[in-house]
Amino acid sequence: MKPSLRPKFLVFLGILVWSLVIAGSAAAQQPLTIAIPTDPDSFDPHRSVAAATGEIAFNIYEGLVKAGPDGSIQPALSSQWDISDDGLTYTFQLRHAYFHDGSRVTSSDVVFSLNRLRDPDISQRAGEYGVIESVTGLDGAVTIQLQRPHGPFLASLAEVAAAVIPEDAENLAQEPVGTGPYTFVEWRPNQEVRLQRFEDHWADVSPHFSVVSFAIVPDDNAAILSLKSGQIDIIPRLDPSLAHQVLDDRSLQVIPGPMNLVQLMALNNQRPPFDDVRVRQALAKAVDREELIVGAAWGHGTALYSGLSPAMEVYYRVGLEAVHNRDLDAARELLRQAGQERLEFTLDLPAPYQIHVQTGEILAQQLAAIGVRVHLNIIEWGTWLERVYNQRDYEATIVGLAGRLDPHSVLIRYQSDSSRNFFNFNNETYDQLIDDAMQATEDDRVELYQQAQEILAHEAAGIFIMDPEQLAVMRSGLQGWYNYPVYVIDAASLYE
């Protein structure tokens, strides 16, 4: 008898249905698509704090000045400015510029924006701009009066938070209105943020791409696959451990640059035995940074010996690698002197950051060579922030501290009374240097910050490890990409 059930027929039917779907429409004209891992939080520049917002908002908003690709301070809404000799009065000449809603940028908009920025009831960043005494506007110019000289002030005006917004702006969180090269079109959570070229931007050259889409792709592997399939054009920050998937692909290009991030093993300087400088120095002498860079960042990183990245070219103190040469015998001797031959401690590692976790795993092996036992404790990010960072309840941890345009914001962390000094580092000379630098002239600041870095290295405030490379991956043919030393994406400079 002939079997009436025909599996082959069912298989054919299945294939037929699927191929009908496959033979769908051809891909429509696509905008320039940049993959980012998370959504922005709010487009109100004074309320937003998420890094993801800053990198998009850089294209929408502008302040009086802005960051250049090399970390320099470039003119933006102000074409030129003047700083009084006592460092207390900043006068900015305004440019002829328009907001995205078509209105002219006036000095009263600038006054409004800066006052809103330093209003603690509205702004998250009010504290950082507390040095401002007053802001006054007079036809086409704005004068900012400071309470005391503040070296990093100009750089702080280049932050996205110091954006100039129209005086009558409402609902900026969802409908930002700025003056930047791109206007906001829409933000669909977990999908994309879409921007369009602003035709009335003050710059002579307008951006090449008329539409830019920031696609939110949470998974790095998925982002690579989307890049290979042509669905996205750029991954601005690829995890170095995935670099091998793109380095041999000829249709793609990888542009490396320093990230201006300080990755370190932070030690709780107040908790025994890390309150003993010999113990910290012993650990500093036992670390093999090259091995960590190869093992955790696949070779994409620069070794660090103090608290500033070489990306901060002018301020970076060269030659500190000799302070604590790798010397296992000397390390053992220091531990012996400190009475810590059987040192054991717990190293907290923040789970979402693969690079820190891997660094910790390798570091634990390296320290075993001098008889130190490290207990690895991998914890979730929220837990890390609450317990390690805010409560300072930890022995040691590995984390990356993001750099800024000015060394002050990075180095002030190690000042003994800084609220961000979760290392509990305490050194009077250091405190004095940072205080002096705030009031000093530019040349003196360089000198003072270099001395500060020397102290951090000698005292082994933490075990400084590396500045991982920022790997921007994009389809070949795209040009004009810049890896900024701050967390922004400049879409306006791209062309093909």
């Binding site: 079997p3 009436s4 059930l5 599996p7 069912l10 299945g14 699927w18 779907v21 496959i22 769908g24 429409s25 429509a28 998370t38 959504d39 939080d41 709010s42 109100d44 309320r47 704090v49 998420a50 890094a51 603690p120 998250q124 009010a126 504290g127 969180a173 969802q174 669909r188 959570p189 977990n190 999908q191 696609a215 939110i216 792709v217 949470p218 998974d219 592997n221 998925a222 696959l225 989307s226 290979k228 399939s229 669905q231 990010w381 929220g382 837990t383 922030l385 609450e386 317990r387 960072y389 805010n390 984390v399 501290l401 993001a402 609220s419 961000r420």
Partner: protein, 314 residues
């Protein structure tokens, strides 16, 4: 009627209980939204002012009460992470997840029923053995890995489907929307199909051993008619019960699959909300999710009673 009322009461109680549990579970987790938003740039003064703004400085009991009152008014509040109304976020995410789940269930059933029936009838042969092996494989494969493989083989190398992201029907047309959901649906469907195939096979085997099947065959009823009309109908009760349970697990599975395929659905929203301690959003998603699952089972129970009069409810 009495049954419907008590059942509805139990339904509401279940939703309330789940949501309350989530509310307090999130309080126990270290770190609050303010801590997570500020990250390593925060200091105590900033934390204080942000907590104030987010309404986190109120006592726990008061926050719970405020939340409960607003949920009863169907107001889920404003998401901390996305600074927009929770209801708006859910309204855009829910259709994606439902569309995906429906597609996945259809695909799973379309694969499982024919395969299950085929493997349950006739003698063992290499084809049937291979299907048996594949069901084991399908159940064992983690869906994030399966998803990656499908993206690599079908989307990147062949370019038949987008490698990720969702195309809205209103902007890209229904064809494109369907195409962007087919690979994730397949990823969700394969493990479910593997379990269902084995279920169909087991139920069919059991039914086929019954006397009335032999009677039907000896009366001269054709094989197809026996298998599909008589046997499958009786095995159907077991199959649909398992399928309903699978449906619930499917909603859980979307959390991973939406992440891998960058789909803007409920699962991805939930993951982001939990990681950011975005309490209003987590609460909204849990209430809606629990309500959906509980009412789905409720409707399914009623449906079973209607399908099979032997099942009676008191």
């Amino acid at each position: 009627m009495r049954y419907v009322i008590t059942k509805s009461g139990a339904l509401l109680a279940a939703v309330w209980f789940t949501a309350t549990l989530t509310f307090f579970a999130l309080q126990v987790l270290p770190g609050d939204p303010a801590v997570l938003i500020l990250g390593t740039e925060g200091d105590p003064a900033m934390l204080e002012s942000l907590r104030e703004q987010l309404g986190l400085s109120l006592p726990l009991g008061q926050r719970y009460w405020l939340w409960l009152v607003s949920v009863l008014q169907l107001d889920f509040g404003v998401s901390i992470r996305y600074s927009r109304p929770v209801s708006q976020l859910m309204a855009s995410a829910l259709p994606v997840t439902l569309f995906l789940a429906a597609l996945a269930v259809t695909t799973a059933l379309a694969l499982a029923v024919p395969l299950g029936v085929y493997t349950s009838v006739g003698r063992a042969n290499p084809m049937r053995a291979a299907i048996g092996l594949l069901t084991h494989l399908g159940m064992a494969m983690p869906s994030f890995w399966l998803g990656m493989l499908l993206i690599q083989w079908i989307a990147v190398e062949r370019g038949w489907f987008p490698a990720g992201g969702f195309f809205r029907p209103s902007a890209a047309g229904w064809g494109m929307a369907l195409r962007s959901l087919l690979l994730p649906a397949l990823t969700l469907a394969i493990p479910r199909a593997a379990i269902l195939t084995r279920m169909v096979r087991a139920s069919m085997k059991q039914v086929l051993a019954e006397d009335y099947i032999r009677t039907a065959r000896s009366k001269g009823v054709s094989r197809t008619r026996t298998y599909f009309l008589h046997a499958l109908r009786n095995a159907g009760l077991n199959i649909s019960t398992v399928a309903a349970i699978q449906m619930t697990q499917l909603l859980v599975g979307t959390i991973i699959v939406e992440q891998v395929f960058s789909l803007p659905g409920m699962g991805r929203l939930l993951l982001a909300a939990v990681l950011q301690r975005d309490l209003p959003l987590v609460q909204g998603l849990v209430v809606v999710g629990a309500a959906m699952i509980v009412s789905f089972h409720y409707v399914f129970d009623l449906l079973l009673g209607w399908l099979d009069p032997r099942i009676r409810f008191e």
